[in-house]
Subunit: 534 residues, 2 copies
């Protein structure tokens, strides 16, 4: 394209690499995801703030470790040097540091972030993508905001219709640090060993062990002791066993983390979230700034393709028992949008990030970021699989049309007047932008848009002060299949009554669907055995 | 900041020049503006699309004339060269050219655009700012989409509460071209003379005339003839006089433009928009790509400060009669957010832009862009002036609190359970994240948030299966001032019934406010005299 001989154009007609246009059906699905998530945030009292799409370059510097190379810079055109934001957390911390009068806030922020990463479009891994963040800043009694974040997370995935299809993996940085210390990791290797453990969702243990010992110089025995811990997954039983473990609970860090976790589970019980949660010692989270509870939401498709040799990370798998079980082990699923998308939400407590900006005052924070593009990819694939009913692209409620015999002038003025009357009453309405449209064309336009009602004007009927209202798509034999004559003066109340009845029907159908929601029972209740550490 | 001695920080804690964070009250006002505008777009059947924040550099090249120097480029970090979008129109045209299966669409797009301009923050002139665009693409019968755009524009400003405070200035590129030709402007000077005329909203005629003659080499007599036309303002009367003018209507361009305009006014009459419109021969619009009707919405504060020497452009002023009338002629109003903001919305028909990308197929388009940040600045200033009632920052409906005597344990578990029950029912609810909060603290937190209802838990009441619901802010002497005891099992229906009643009250109050809307009568009905052109 572009430079071929004879072509007038001298440029490529495309969006930049790793970016895309959102339109049509996709846009409608994404908007529904946004409004579902926003509704839950607002239900919990959140407000939103909006920060610029670029920050001073130095604000982002030193916050993302190795990933800093993925930051997009703006060209130096004179003046300040700026970079596109990489996430919404650092701008939030910068904002808190700048606004020292704000000592507490629940804020959400839905916006695009930018990473010069290798894109994988079908999985929703893009260079420009949306994040949907919710964070709580402020000093409160322990674990209460943390518990509410997990409650919010669960409300969101339930509202998205993912019942039984997601697991919130949780862990605590201080428990991990305690385990590493107890296993014999030197203090100066804590963070780097934690980074290696974080790769367990993508790589098998043997590979992570090799990284620890060969690349990071950890003693093989120490690595093996870590290996016994990090494969532990469970619920309160596991927490009870870890808490009762003499060596671990004697470690100050581990003790603090376990106490936090016990309190958190008490609160999660009250909030009815415990059955969605899996305590997972392999969860470490890559970013350095976490200081307490960490979590990551995984779903059926979070794991890499089963043929890659990595252990499958299906929802709460039994330890070490899961083998690749794809129908065809040679099948290439790397472009399957429901496989290998990684986590769909992640976050944790970061009590010291604001201090990196304010230089003085710390404001403890805890938050979560929802990967909307990944959630979108999975939602769309499921809708296609489940042959979801047709999604409407616009929201028009009434299509105004006209018909007539020989010499029919199109009744344009009358159609416009009816439209105006409906718009004045707040009703969503359209009509054909043709002076003399044919009736089949008008019906086609209304049907393509999925418009529920047609208002049909005819010269004779108008002369008697009447017009016809017809609900589209009624079955043959329905008494109102051909529409109903109404008085023109009653247009607005007649239309509104029918729209209200239709909305009521839809609400009832929606309610019936909700009643079918079942409790899940696929998270293991039995805790695995705890390794004995000397 | 940053580099001072003894400081730990080595960077400036700020947002980049010309950008800002949006938060609190401002954010709430802006969100209300967005949702008001979006509601109107959807009422007219629009869908939305979302394009990347940056485009390939070459897509933007050659679209903005002199203003191209204001485009932000991304740094060359390898790979494609990209620039931040400058408006939403060019990305829309690029999208249409890429998606040739789309032959018609009504789309809106609300997103940030970027211009390396000199910022004037108080007036809402920023380097990063929101635009709110609505465009109709496709082949339709003449002037029908154009009329609907102006109807949408009027619905939006009415919905924003600007009744009588805005004027939609309209003109037609072909009428302008006809006037220039009739006045004797050489063909090759048409665009450059049009650009000069466009400056009449900021500069006095003498200055514009000087630019035409001294800078652009136009004959003085020709300029004077143009001067007689471009000061014409009016309504259908002016249009009738221009249409009846023998020399002008003999010009092919002018004839085409005048015919369009006559049809447009017929449609605007039906849509009841005519009284908001002023036909204004000084309106030229800077961008090259317009091909038909053009328009610009001005409001009380659109003109530059009256002390600048430029003619005031108050809503439909009488030609040449307006003098600076500020209370104090020396008063510096350059930082007054309600003065000199320029137009608050602008657009027109551009039938040839898509062809610049597709190279083959033209798709005629007509659209409008709302300057949301300017609309915001004016709305906020008016709200402050009119001492608008307190704006709530979050949407919480219920604050759950507890109290008790000596040995009171805070009833945390019970508060959390009530919250969970309300959230399950979709009710927006909060409680204090303290284990043992004091009652006055809890009331203070609820009052600060403007929460309408409190649920108050007491040990004795809970033991009897009861709790108290209290509407906040009831006047002394109200029978329910101290709250009402309800059965705990009826919590959700009791809360929902009260919320519904409150919403009903608010809707009635809102309806009453709308009934007060008056028709405006400040647009002159009499057309000024038309100059005689030999």
């Amino acid at each position: 394209m572009g430079k071929e001989k004879g072509e007038k154009l001298t440029f490529q007609l495309k969006t930049p690499k790793g970016t895309k246009d959102w339109e049509g059906r996709d846009m409608v699905i994404r908007d529904k995801i946004f409004s579902t998530i926003t509704d839950v945030f607002k239900r919990h009292g959140a407000v939103t703030i909006d920060t610029p799409v670029f920050e001073l370059k130095e604000i982002l510097a030193g916050k993302y470790g190795e990933d800093s190379k993925l930051i997009y810079d703006l060209a130096d055109q004179g003046g300040e040097l700026c970079s596109l934001r990489y996430d919404l957390t650092v701008p939030f911390a910068r904002w808190l540091a700048m606004n020292s009068s704000v000592q507490s806030i629940k804020r959400y922020h839905i916006a695009k972030v930018y990473r010069r990463d290798q894109p994988a479009m079908t999985k929703g891994r893009m260079r420009e993508f949306y994040q949907c963040d919710f964070d709580i800043a402020g000093v409160y009694d322990p674990m209460l905001p943390d518990a509410e974040i997990l409650r919010i997370t669960s409300e969101i995935f339930e509202a998205l219709g993912w019942q039984g299809r997601y697991t919130i993996k949780i862990n605590h940085r201080k428990i991990l640090d305690g385990i590493f210390e107890v296993c014999g990791v030197p203090k100066d290797k804590l963070r780097t060993i934690s980074s290696a453990v974080d790769k367990l969702d993508k790589s098998p243990w043997a590979e992570v062990r090799r990284e620890m010992t060969e690349e990071k110089g950890l003693d093989g025995d120490v690595a093996d002791r870590i290996g016994e811990y990090v494969n532990l997954k469970g619920s309160r039983d596991l927490l009870a066993k870890l808490s009762a473990h003499p060596t671990l609970s004697a470690n100050a860090d581990a003790k603090k983390g376990l106490d936090d976790m016990n309190l958190l589970f008490d609160y999660l019980d009250i909030f009815e979230v415990t059955d969605k949660v899996s305590l997972d010692m392999s969860l470490a989270r890559g970013l350095d700034y976490y200081t307490g509870v960490i979590y990551e939401v995984v779903t059926e498709g979070s794991a890499p393709p089963a043929t890659s040799g990595a252990p499958s990370q299906e929802v709460a798998p039994k330890k070490g028992k899961k083998k690749p079980t794809a129908n065809d082990p040679d099948e290439d699923r790397s472009s399957d949008p429901t496989v290998g998308v990684g986590s769909v939400a992640a976050g944790g407590r970061y009590d010291e990030l604001v201090g990196m900006f304010s230089g003085k005052q710390q404001i403890p924070c805890v938050g979560i970021s929802f990967g909307v593009d990944r959630i979108f990819s999975i939602t769309k694939a499921r809708m296609e699989k489940e042959k979801a009913t047709a999604l409407r692209l616009n929201e028009v409620d009434v299509f105004i049309m006209a018909f007539g015999g020989k010499g029919f002038d199109g009744l344009l003025k009358q159609r416009m007047e009816v439209a105006k009357e409906l718009w004045n009453a707040g009703v969503k309405a359209e009509f054909s932008w043709k002076v003399k449209p044919k009736l089949p064309q008008q019906f086609k336009q209304a049907e393509q848009g999925g418009v529920p009602f047609a208002i049909i004007l005819g010269e004779d009927e108008l002369a008697q002060g009447k017009l016809k209202i017809k609900q589209m798509g009624l079955p043959e034999g329905h008494p109102e299949k051909d529409g109903v004559m109404i008085e023109k003066v009653n247009l607005v109340p007649e239309v509104k009554a029918r729209l209200a009845a239709l909305a009521e029907e839809a609400a009832v159908a929606d309610g019936a669907a909700r009643i079918k929601i079942q409790d899940r029972d696929d998270v293991p209740n039995e805790a695995p055995a705890i390794p004995t550490v000397s």
